[in-house]
Amino acid sequence: MTAIQHISTSRRIKDRVVQGLVYLAFALAVVPLVSVLWLVISNGMSRFDVEFLTHSMNGIGARDVGGGAYHAIVGTLEQVLLASVISVPIGLFTAIYLVEYGNNGRLSRAISFFVDVMTGVPSVVAGLFVLAFWILFLGFSYSGWAGALALSILMMPTVVRSAEEMLRLVPVDLREASYALGVPKWRTILRVVLPTAFTGIVTGVMLAVARVAGETAPLLMTVFFTNSINNDPFTGPQMGLPLFVFDQAARPNDTAVDRAWTGALTLILIVMLLNLVARLIAWWRSPARGR
């Protein structure tokens, strides 16, 4: 017969030490996040005013106070929207093909492989590609649309991967239940599979949007640069918030640097707002709501 054993002191010490290390690792991981947020908010608040949100940089001299990022906000929203309009349908259809029709055949394996490759494409390369192909080879001018093309190259693989994962999570049982009712396959996908995966797909799309909204390098080469408001994303150079931050931060005056901080704050707020909207949509469509 063995007696009941007590936890030895050495085990108790080890337990404490490891616990302490885990807390420390957590704190280390949070430090950069909190400090970035703190810096952006504390430095950005000083210029976060109505003028900043409603005025462009047109006619603002090198040392002038005032001016704003309205042109950059409009540009970013239009470019990200256009990029989403291009990449979400393509990404979603690709994911549907991979999950529902591909059967892991040669074509679907090839698509999977190239999506993986695309995930690894550096954002500069996406910008260079659009510059070389759309602007230099086809001869179109710099525009928000060209920027959206570059952003959609970066967005597409993220959308495909996340939508694919979500579609695979939909149980086979549900598809079979629908087939057994005499519902054709395309309708099953449209009315049963997609609604079931909807929440997850929306989250995935929002992550992709958040990722591209902060891209600077591809925009530099495609939307060019401007200080004035251009509401038309298809003609003429535009601005984007990341470009605005990049440009203002490089100027030697404090007034410009302040504008850069506020630009960064605005970008964070826009991404947060979009995330919030996505959460709301997901909650509104969630099956558990009526319970």
């Binding site: 059967n103 149980p171 049982d173 549900l174 598809r175 079979e176 239940a177 629908s178 087939y179 057994a180 009712l181 005499g182 519902v183 054709p184 309708r187 099953t188 009315r191 049963v192 609604p195 079931t196 909807f198 469509r285 099956p287 558990a288 009526g290 319970r291």
Partner: protein, 258 residues
């Protein structure tokens, strides 16, 4: 509303693996036919060949004939989707659509297949839920999610969903194996009621259930693991359980194997 099924010389494959071999039988209308047999003997596979659900699995195929009142379901020009509209199916695990309410679940087959008026849908939903003995329990919460019901209620919801499209035949793949005895009883009562209207085929692991509910029983078995399953014997249920003609059937029913 109810049709006879005649199967002759049916083989079913998963890729190169032959799951069932040379099955021939007649399933009578307005009656309950039960399939019994040990696990892996191909009962469920055979059931799924009857409404062309087998081929949904990649690599799966079928040889042979299945005649529904004389019409071959596997003839080259037959649209599998229309076969499934005529031959409904209830699965082992209750699988209501999680994004839909109770009402929408029952109406799913109608709505997903085309335009039906609101009044017509209302009437069919009520009729189907009454038919599945679920109406009284859910009539006040038709707009609540179907996934919020208990397991037994969910399974009756799935039966209501299957009968709402007015099939000729209802296939049930171990419909009670995930349910408690009281829900099982509710579903067995329901089957006895439904057989006035439908041809019912049920796969079950529960021999008492087969004895209780079915009119005819088929016993499936396989020579050894990896060999295809076959029908050993098919007869009136009363005779199968009292005086089977095959030794293997008797051994299985009396619990000597399987």
């Amino acid at each position: 509303m109810s049709k006879q099924i005649q199967v002759s010389g049916l083989d079913a494959y998963y890729g190169s693996h032959k799951a069932i071999e040379d099955v021939s039988m007649t399933i009578e209308p307005r009656s309950i036919t039960a399939f019994i047999g040990p696990s892996g003997c191909g009962k469920s596979t055979f059931l799924r060949t009857l409404n062309r659900m087998h081929e949904v699995i990649p690599g799966a195929r079928v040889d042979g004939k299945v005649l529904l009142d004389g019409e071959d379901l596997y003839a080259g020009t037959v649209e599998p989707v229309s076969v499934r509209r005529m031959i409904g199916m209830v699965f082992q695990r209750p699988n209501p659509f999680p994004t839909m309410s109770i009402y929408e679940n029952v109406a799913a087959g109608l709505r997903l297949n085309g335009r039906v008026s609101k009044a017509q849908t209302d009437a069919i939903v009520e009729e189907s839920l009454k038919g599945a003995n679920l109406w009284n329990e859910v009539k006040d919460r038709l707009n609540k999610p179907g996934a919020g019901l208990s397991g037994g209620q969910q399974q009756r919801l799935c039966i209501a969903r299957a009968i709402a499209v007015k099939p000729q035949v209802l296939l049930m793949d171990e419909p009670c194996s995930a349910l408690d005895p009281i829900s099982t009883l509710a579903i067995e009562d329901l089957m006895a009621k439904l057989k006035d209207e439908f041809t019912i085929v049920i796969v079950t692991h529960n021999m008492q259930q087969a004895a209780r509910v079915s009119d005819r029983t088929a016993f499936f078995n396989l020579a050894e693991q990896g060999k295809p399953g076959k029908v050993i014997e098919m007869d009136e249920t009363s005779r199968m359980f009292t005086n089977p003609s095959e030794k293997a059937t008797e051994d299985y029913i009396t619990g000597r194997f399987g």
